[in-house]
Subunit: 475 residues, 2 copies
């Protein structure tokens, strides 16, 4: 049955095998219940190591594509069938079961003026990478190759610098399973501008926006800045409650983090992902997929993006270099369906124009030269070590006070616990440690409490200090 | 009468003297009709050269602050008095004499894909500086001082990098007479983002936006992107017709280029500027002052910004480094009244977040080190030479076909003439020369025709070639 599998692309063997198998399952060329070859057999057929096949099978299991029956082997999961055959919800808007919420006022910068920068770069600030581990010398070498080029001085293209769009398309295709051509990539001022452009292009006054609760606040503010009502979609077992969507009425946009829920870390399995896309298609809802830290998942391997689950999925895919490279670059990207690219280009043209060229050219060359992958591998190991150390310290010193949410581990870890988390986060800041209160990520009133701790930016010693500080806290 | 004048600031003696004299006239400490000391006397009193005083008197004359009576000397202009005492228009909205217009669809990029950059950088493309004259080696030296700084890797401040905000405030205060503190400066992705943020913060649905016609199209698109109606304000003798404003009804915003009308080049004299600000105050209208090329006025000396005419003028001042440095930097700025700064910061936070740090730090150091002023002086001489050459070639070879509008000379020159200017501009592009059709800058139907030619980006030889090409045109 695996005669048609050919591993010959530029992505790793493991990625290629994962993508080809998952694709055949989604398309039901491998129907539900079908037994897959043993890992020994498949490895032999394809001429790859058995470890490679085993790793792919583990990932397919974790994502819900396949399951093991003890002693009998690995089978395509029957849930796939249910997902593909589930009753289609009515396209007509239902009466609303959940009233739109009003957003709280925007978070104010904690400290005005020159101090703000220092404050935003405190260790444990969520979203902040390890600034000291950045390969500044190799980066600068590439910068020096680009800095004098005349073609990087004038105007270029509103969508972005062509070689960077190509490099991003190649990267997300092979690393994230995204289906796209370079022409669909639009460079933005961080993920934040990508989200704002989505609002500009797709929202009419009154259109309802769905957003995970708890969820990423920056997206909510971008998507509701023209006054659109926001509807919280609660989580179930740390992921967006897909089954509950039908009760929430119509939506024009749904913002979500399907491969690593922010901040809780859950992952939609393949049946849930299929159901989510079907719901979106039936309801004419656009899904905004924020793939904010796919490079760094530690509890599970990174799952493929839902954008790539099938052709023409109604998904706008958003990514950023703020975490994989540096926040100060302010470069993110949007991958839009072909038919919308010109609309996004127009929205970008009137709202801010082109993106800075030298940074774009440097990132492109950093990617094409292979240094980006190398950097990601190093950071993955570094952050994984930090995660183990942090989780270990928390379990030892904060037992009974905070429970680490293991799924969340990427660049941050959620510590759940009963506390006044706003006060605690503020107090911790006064001791020199960043964090965000978990409750602030909820829309509405049923918030849980705890701390979102961005350990990627903390040294081992800062991790020790912070955990000790937390264990001695007065609040 | 000039005992209180002290020239001791960091700006040039000429700038200081200009600002102190014009200020005293606006505040009527030197009342209308008062005779100023002779240039010989004033030069002696202040210990400066007579040339300096003469240059300032010439500028004050050109702007309408003073006038000469032959043989009797220089007197404060009586029009100042009329401007200060003109009847206050009613604050209540009047019935509309001019219906709002609908904008044409956005201009599409002429060529898609990789070629777009080349096309946007053709010689004579308006707005494009001389990319070859940019001091890339000194610039890169400063870049190398900044590139490895850890503090330029993470997050900073939403309003912008503090040393750059300070450098801009110092610059616009001394070079443009703008009244501001560094805290009022907001860094943006080019002037375009500054304009878009103004729309985000100040416009409610239905609010009317006034814009010069002919005028700058990028501003119109930014300020009407949420559907606000636009009302054209015609020109009178190449400047905004201030007297006609009262007939146009209420406006929330007026976009204008008061010190160098784009593209026609007229300058509002001081009486017109006072009247404009009074109209704005009475009608609760914000004036958006786009000071797009104040560094390069050749027909007249650059006039001070209206933002600085008096304290708390209802003016949002917009500037950019795209013309003074490089378009590819994508750095512009907005100078906002103190009470609006936090609103602009919030709008910027949700629509795109912070601005890239390395470029900001490099510009700041380029300014503080004095290299920015040096670069501007060199470019002023270079562009002036190009202007003389271009105007000379046009007068010689295109006489009877096109009339150069001398006032417009900065980085571009308007050539007025009867033609199908859209077709001509397109044809010229096919020969390798950029330009924009004059008629495209008009809102509505009473458009004049001709070409807006950005000569700053053209070499002497390209100027010769382009004029010859135009003289042989088939259309």
């Amino acid at each position: 049955m695996t005669d048609d599998i050919h591993l010959e692309g530029s992505a790793s063997l493991q990625q290629q095998l994962y993508q080809q198998l998952s694709q055949r399952i989604v398309e039901q060329r491998y129907p539900p219940g079908r037994r897959l070859p043993s890992s020994r057999q498949l490895a032999q057929d394809l001429g790859v190591s058995r470890n490679t096949v085993n790793a792919v099978y583990e990932q397919l299991k974790a994502e819900g594509f396949v399951r093991s029956r003890s002693g009998q082997g690995v089978f395509v999961h029957e849930d796939i069938e249910r997902a593909l055959q589930r009753p289609v919800p009515p396209a007509r808007p239902r009466p609303l079961a959940t009233a739109p919420m009003t957003l709280p006022p925007l978070p104010r910068k904690p400290v005005a003026g020159a101090g703000a920068g220092d404050d935003a770069n405190l260790p444990f600030q969520p979203g902040l990478p390890d600034l000291d581990a950045f390969p500044i010398r190799s980066w600068n070498r590439i910068l020096h190759h680009q800095e004098s080029r005349r073609s990087l001085r004038g105007y270029d293209s509103i969508e972005g610098y062509a070689p960077l769009r190509q490099a991003i398309a190649d990267y997300v295709r092979s690393a994230r399973g995204v289906r796209c051509q370079a022409e669909q990539v639009i460079i933005a001022q961080g993920a934040q501008q990508a989200l704002a452009l989505i609002g500009d292009v797709l929202l009419q006054p009154g259109d309802r926006v769905f957003s995970e609760s708890p969820g990423y606040r920056g997206a909510r503010y971008a998507l509701t800045r023209h006054g659109n009502p926001i509807v919280p979609v609660p989580l179930k077992q740390q992921v967006l409650d897909v089954d509950g969507l039908a009760e929430l009425g119509p939506a024009r946009l749904l913002f979500c983090t399907p491969t690593h829920q922010y901040p809780m870390g859950g992952v939609l399995n393949v049946a849930q992902r299929m159901a989510l896309l079907q719901w979106a298609q039936c309801n004419q809802t656009w899904i905004v997929e924020d793939d904010y830290d796919s490079e760094f998942h530690f509890h599970n391997k990174p799952f493929a993006a839902i954008q790539g689950l099938f052709d023409n999925a109604p998904v706008l895919y958003v990514g950023s270099f703020s975490k994989t490279l540096l926040p100060a670059l302010r470069v993110g990207y949007l991958i839009a369906p072909e038919g919308l690219v010109e609309h996004f280009a127009q929205a970008k043209r009137v709202s801010g124009g082109e993106s800075p060229l030298l940074a774009q050219a440097t990132i492109a060359e950093f990617m094409v030269s292979g240094q980006f992958s190398r950097h990601l591998r190093r950071m993955r190991q570094l952050y994984r070590d930090k995660w183990h150390h942090f989780q270990d310290r928390v379990s030892t010193e904060l037992a009974g006070q905070f429970t680490p949410v293991a799924e969340s581990a990427g660049m941050h870890l959620v510590l759940e616990g009963e506390c006044d988390d706003l006060a605690l986060s503020q107090w911790l800041r006064s001791r020199g440690f960043g964090s965000t209160p978990l409750s602030a990520h909820f829309i509405g009133h049923d918030a849980r409490t705890g701390l979102v701790m961005g350990f990627a930016s903390a040294s081992e010693r800062q991790i020790d200090d912070c955990v000790r500080t937390l264990s001695e806290r007065p609040v």
